[in-house]
Structure formats: C-alpha cells, structure tokens
C-alpha cells in the first residue's frame, strides 16, 4: 500500500469523486494552499470566506473520505497586485494562528511587480512571527529569473532555508533551489509543468532528500492522482518502496511538521456526523 501526502492540491475545486479516487489511491493527507480561484476576487471579504472554507468546510469534506486536510494561507502573488485585495494582509495574522494552518502560502511572484515584492516580504515576516514554514510559488513566465529572485528574497528575510518549500520547479530551476538548501516541490501535470518520466529522471539525478511531488490539481485540467502515478513510475525505474515513501509521505510530513500543527488523523469535530450526512446535504435527511 502506497501512502501518499499531497503537499499541494486545491480541493475546493474538486469533486467528491476525486476525494474517493484519491483515498483509493492511498492519499491520506494533503495541504491545500490558498491561491487564485480563476475568478478574480474583488474584496477582502471574499478572501475571508475562502480562508474560513479552507479551515472548516473543506477540512470536514476531506474527513468524510478519510483524508486529513491542512491548509496554507496567504495573499497570492497575482492578487497582491489588486489594492482591493491587498488589505487582506491586515486580517491574515488572525488566521495564521489557527489549527490546521501548517504554512504560509502560496506566496512568491507572478509578474514580479513592486506590489508583489511588498506582499512577499511582508508575508515572509509573518511566517517568522508565527513560526510557520512557507510554501513559495514560482512564476509561470520568466521562471528562472523569478526563482532566482525568490531565493534572494528568502535569503534576505532571515528565514532558514529548511523552512521554505519552493514549488513548481523543473529542470531549469531545481539546481539553484537545491544549492540554497530549500525544499524542492514539483507539480506533475497532464500537459504543462512536470510529467512523471521527467520527474523520475530528476529524482535519479538529485536524490530523494528535500524532494516533494504534488498534483497541484485545481480548477484547470489537472489530475489529483499524479502523485500515485509518479510513485509507480519511480518503482518502474528501480526506486524501492522506501524511497517512494520518502518522497510521497515522509518528506511532506517532515516539512509541514515544522509547524507543530500537523495532525494526520482526519478532523471531523465541529461538523455534523458523517453517518447522518445532514451537513453535507444541507437540509433535511
């Protein structure tokens, strides 16, 4: 049995079929970072409802399927550019104190604007103050320059490199993150980002230490089972089960465990009992 911890997946956009398939595939824990929802937000209130949902509703939904749900909270880089959204940084500290929050994220760069610089730096400072690790998104456009600048900002922030996970890496960006001592995240996607075979090649080259694989599944075309498929590809390529377990379970547990708030039992308290289902149905049984 392959046990899987998906360190980056946006379950808000996924169906109960996905939850079922993930559990069947061996997924027992995950982290859902706060990100852009596809439809731009226009106010702080929209973020607050989203945070509440990641802390309560989505956690409850995941527990119905035997999956421990945690989240990372932040103002994402894309919306850091909208002054109507940037004010969420005022209420973010309240949320970073909560159970189930295991990191600050996703932060980082989208278009590398001064507004993004400001939000990134302020949120790294919040991570220090709340003693939380950080999940950093690297940009889709101009990725190499963006990753380099990301590492510079992290270095200046005073955060220890082992408290930082730099995500969405590929062949052109992995080396500088490995050298910096940060954790390395890879999103395995159907069309874009990484695929299973290229991922296995990178694991063969760089080893399994500080390496994390995620599906980053969201509202776009993506596959929440890419973690398992990568695990199978590793086995095909000659990695042993322990090495697969390191990448798919032990590494995410170690990284997010630095928060002191990781709980690998699904949390059902605070919501209606699964057997009655009335909370899920939102009405009479």
């Amino acid at each position: 049995m392959m046990r899987i911890f998906d360190p980056h997946i946006h379950m808000t956009s996924r169906t109960t079929d996905d939850y079922e398939a993930m559990h069947d595939a061996g997924v027992r824990a995950l982290v859902e970072p706060a990100f852009w929802l596809g439809q731009p937000r226009t106010s702080v209130g929209s973020f607050v409802d989203y945070f509440d949902s990641l802390l309560g509703w989505e956690r409850f939904r995941a527990a119905q399927f035997g999956i421990a749900h945690h989240c990372a909270l932040a103002l994402n880089p894309k919306e850091a550019n909208d002054p109507r959204c940037a004010e969420v940084l005022e209420v973010l500290p309240r949320y970073l104190a909560k159970d189930g929050v295991v990191a600050v994220g996703e932060v980082g760069y989208d278009s590398m604007t001064p507004e993004e610089d400001d939000a990134f730096a302020r949120q790294l400072e919040l991570a220090l103050r709340h003693d939380l690790p950080v999940l950093v998104h690297t940009p889709h456009r101009d990725k190499q320059a963006g990753t380099k600048r990301t590492l510079d900002v992290v270095r200046e922030s005073g955060l220890a490199p082992h408290r930082v996970l730099v995500d969405h890496l590929n062949e052109t960006t992995v080396a500088m993150v490995a050298d910096a001592g940060c954790w390395m995240g890879f999103s395995v996607y159907p069309d874009t980002k990484m695929d299973e075979e290229r991922m296995v090649a990178l694991l063969a080259e760089y080893g399994t230490e500080r390496m994390l694989v995620n599906s980053a599944a969201d509202w776009g075309r993506s596959d929440p089972l890419k973690t398992r498929k990568t695990g199978l590809a590793m086995l095909d390529a000659g990695f042993d089960e322990s090495e697969v377990d390191t990448v798919l379970w032990r590494n995410p547990v170690e990284f997010y465990g630095q928060s002191g708030r990781l709980s690998l039992e699904p949390v059902t308290a605070g919501a209606v009992d699964a057997a009655t289902g009335s909370s899920v149905l939102r009405g009479e049984r």
Binding site: L55, V91, R94, A97, D99, G270, A271, D273
Partner: protein, 442 residues
C-alpha cells in the same frame, strides 16, 4: 525562572525507585518529591549513605530537582499507619526519623524536608511544638516544611502559621501546601492560600479534591481551579518544586503521570494566556485560536476564561467578541457562544446577532452551543422555538437546550407536533426527543 513540575514517588509505590525516577524524568517532569520509604531510599538501611550518594547522582543525571517527603505509611511501625507522629507519646521516634531525613535531604541537595503534625487531640499542641523545635535544633540546617493535613492537629494553613509564630518564626521552618487539601478543608481557595503563605512556601503538592473529602484526585475530577492556582504560584514568585501528589494511583502510575503533566501544561498555558490578555487585550486574537492545540479537550472552558479576562480589561468587549466570532473557526465560534452565558449580558443585542448566525449554520456544535443560557435570557421566543425545532431536524439531543422544560410553550408544541405529523406522512421515524417533548405536555 518559574517553578518546577514534579511527581511524588509515593505515586510510584509499585516501581523501583530508579525506574520511577527514569519514568518521571522521561515524561518531562523536572522535579521529584521523594517519599522516603522502606523500598525507596530507606533511611534506616545500613548502607543509607551509599544509597543516598547513588540517588543523588541519578537525580543529577536526570536533571531532577528534589524535595524529601516523610509521609510513608508503615516505615516506623508495621502495624499502625503513620505512627508514631509528633503528637504521639513516643514522639522521639518521629523526631529521629525527621532528623535522618534532613541529613538525606542535605546530601541529595533537596529544597526541604516536608512533614505533617499527626492525628491527635488539640491538647497535644504544646507537645507538637516541642517536637518541631527538636527537629529544628538537631541535624543539619535544612529547611523543613510543615504541611497542613486534613484530620491532623495542624490541618489548615492558619494553624501552621500560628505554630510558626509561637515558635518565634524560625527561619528554617516553612510551609508545604497541598492545593487539594485547600479545596477540602480551607475557608479560602488554593490561590488565596498560596498568596497567604507567600515567601514561606517551600514545597507545593498538586492534586484535585472535592470540598470536605480528603481524597486525592486527578486534575479535573474535583473542584480545584488549576490555572488560577498556578497563576498564584507565579504571582508570588515561587521558584521551588510543585509535585503531583497521587499516592493512591500507583497501580497506573505512568498513565496517570502522563495525564497529570498534560493537564498541568494546559493549565499553565491558560494561566499565561489569561495574564497576557489582561496585560494586552489584543493578545486574544492569537491566543483564542491557539487554545485548541494548547488545551485540547478543555478548550471550550479555556476560551470562556479568555473571554472573561478580555471582557474585564477591553474598552470594547462587544466588538472584540464579534470579531472573534466573525473570524473564528467552528471551534472558536463555539467558544464565543459558550462565553456569552458569562459575559454576553453587557450587550445582549450583539450577542443575539451571533446566536442567530449560529442558528443559521448547519453545524451541530454551533447550534447546540447557541441554545445555552444566554439564548434563554435574550433570544426572541420565535427564534428560540426555531432553534429547538432545528435540533430535532439535525438530530441534536434536546438536552443541549438550556431551560427547555421551563420555556416550552403551546406554540413550540404545535410546531413539534406538526413536524411529527410530517415525518409520519413521509413514512419516516419521529425522533424520540420530539415524542418525549410531546408526551410530557399531554
């Protein structure tokens, strides 16, 4: 520098002393209250000096601070428990033992030797005094802590303090306080006793108890206010040993000691958090959420205490509660709703708005917490009846509803009867709580 949580070896009576010390240290305690006994560093053993040296080295290795306790049951007389005492005719046997204990305490580097008076008549007072004086005069200069013990000649703190005064306030005569005993027999609570003992306090024993019953209980089973007790120790600047005293729990010692330390750490966190909120009300924004992981099972009660502290010092408590609810997780919202019963009366309208919000949710915990005493006092009757009906819909037992019997009215019964009819018409079972409510009325 704060005080040291310890555990009493008399609660590990079925362990070898070395094993007991290892378990206590491994659990995370940083002190031990060592009861000298026939199987735990016997003061009458031929090789007591050598044994003491070895135990001292072991304590040092494990980083355990130590106090010496002298309450062994059958150490001096195999037939009569605790006999002889300082109020017995053959007091000299007890004095000799206590002096030996002082020597051992010196060699262990212990804070003190703790002792009690004994069961006897009040007329034995002067005899007791001369016994205490004899202990003070003999052997090495080691502080001795007189512990008020229920049922003994000195059973309350004021008696211990009087005895000290009558002896001329000798510097080495101090006070040992068992906070459970305070619940059982003192006219004031443990925190007040701690403040009264003040700098004379040389040793503290921690356990829970019920008023009038001298039975050592695990934390949470009696009526001790543990956070307030620990806060009082911090308040007087106490830096000594505060050791759990559960001498009748040896059969399950490692588990009991684990639970005790968890309770102590939770209470310590809460005491610190209450202090922080009183110093800076804004601190509640991060402490209120953190109560879940810091306190665990008792988090609702802990959050109510934080709200109470906040209400005492905040300029605008209502705005504070509303924000804690607005930005709260389910557990935090439940805490705010429970707190309304204690602190909501100052602004009923704001509290009612939160209760109404909770009653709109589909979370059993929130609906249940919303229908507490605050709702009974302030929620409109129509909304309250709908809350009760919602419990029936959601399968929440009606026992959560405060004052249901007193406030049931014809309109509520009509609504419940109609609900029952609707269930029957659909061929679905009618919840037992609904039938019970209707049955009581008929």
């Amino acid at each position: 520098m704060t005080f040291h949580f310890g555990y009493g070896t008399n609660g590990f009576a079925n362990h070898r002393l070395d094993d007991a010390l290892a378990v206590i240290a491994d659990l995370g305690y940083t002190a031990v209250a060592l009861t000298l006994d026939h199987h735990h560093l016997d003061p009458f053993a031929d090789d007591v000096v050598k044994q003491t040296e070895r135990v001292a080295a072991r304590l040092h290795e494990l980083g355990l601070r130590v106090v010496v306790e002298t309450g062994a049951r059958y150490l001096l007389d195999p037939r009569r428990k605790h006999h002889p005492t300082l109020v017995s005719e053959d007091q000299a046997v007890r004095v000799d033992f206590l002096v030996r204990a002082k020597q051992i305490a010196l060699e262990l580097g212990a804070d003190c030797v703790s002792f009690w008076s004994g069961v006897g008549s009040p007329e034995a007072w002067d005899h007791l005094k001369s016994g205490v004086a004899a202990v003070l005069e003999s052997g090495p200069s080691v502080p001795i802590g007189l512990e008020p013990e229920p049922g003994m000649v000195v059973q309350r703190l004021d008696q211990a303090l009087r005895l000290r005064t009558e002896l001329g306030n000798p510097d080495l005569l101090r006070i040992t306080l068992d906070v459970g005993h305070c619940v059982a027999v003192e006219p004031q609570d443990a925190a007040a006793c701690i403040r009264q003992a003040g700098e004379l306090l040389v040793n503290v024993q921690l356990d829970d108890m019920l008023p009038g019953v001298h039975e050592h209980l695990e934390f949470g089973e009696g009526q001790l206010d543990l956070p307030a007790t620990l806060a009082a120790l911090t308040g007087i600047g106490y830096t000594g040993v505060a050791a759990v005293e559960l001498p009748r729990h040896s059969h399950a010692a490692p588990d009991v000691a684990t639970r005790a330390l968890r309770a102590l750490r939770a209470a310590e966190w809460l005491a610190d958090a209450e202090r922080a909120v009183r110093a800076d009300p804004g601190a509640i924004d991060t402490l209120f959420p953190a109560a879940g992981r810091a306190v665990g099972a008792g988090q609702d009660a802990a959050r109510v205490r934080l709200l109470t502290a906040f209400a005492d010092v905040s300029d605008d408590p209502v705005d504070g509660f509303t924000r804690l609810y607005r930005y709260g997780t389910s557990a935090e919202r439940r805490g705010v709703l429970r707190g309304l019963a204690e602190v909501g009366d100052c602004a009923p309208a704001a509290g009612v708005a939160l209760v109404e919000d909770a009653l709109r949710s589909n979370e059993t915990d929130l609906v249940a917490a919303a229908l507490g005493p605050f709702a009974t006092r302030h929620l409109g009757r129509h909304a309250w009846r709908h809350g009760v009906l919602k419990c029936l819909f959601m399968g929440i037992p009606l026992t959560v509803v405060d004052g249901l019997d007193r406030h049931s009215d014809a309109e509520l019964l009509r609504m419940v009867a109609a609900f029952a009819d609707e269930r029957r018409a659909a061929g679905r079972p009618v919840p037992a709580d609904a039938l019970a409510l209707l049955g009581k009325a008929s």
